[in-house]
Symmetry: C2
Subunit: 87 residues, 2 copies
């Protein structure tokens, strides 16, 4: 499992679209707060490998390209630790 | 926007993986409860078109293949209407 504190430090850039609390202000972007950690790892890896396309995937392909496996684990741990719905 | 009541009727098959309340019991599957409606539409369309791959996408490609655009809109309306975190 990842390190949520390290993930939080890495997550500043994510907030622009996914919200400070992991709840996206823009309705075409997903909320991440409280999402399952293993699913977030899977999704980030699918963006990084460019297997995940469609919608606005190209944005996340670019973001994920710079992430190491440890970064992905840490970000997933962080967002899954946030309360669902931002409460 | 879709019809959440029609989406609920269509959502029985979704519950096996994504939970009765849109909170997945299996940690590799995403929670859908309270997710943004427009994001859910985008994701379902990307599965249907097979643009979204990686992870367990092949399962959702099969599920989404049978969905009309109206089904997709209704399912997105339904899951977005559920309380985040299943509370």
């Amino acid at each position: 499992a990842g390190d949520a504190a390290a993930g939080k430090a890495k997550a500043a850039v994510c907030a622009a679209c996914h919200g400070q609390n992991g709840v996206a202000m823009i309705p075409t972007y997903p909320n991440l707060a409280g999402q399952h950690e293993l699913y977030l790892v899977s999704a980030l890896k699918a963006y990084k490998s460019k297997q995940r396309n469609g919608g606005q995937a190209v944005i996340m392909q670019g973001q994920a390209a710079a992430l190491s496996d440890a970064d992905i684990a840490n970000l997933a741990a962080y967002f899954s630790s946030l309360p669902a719905g931002g409460k």
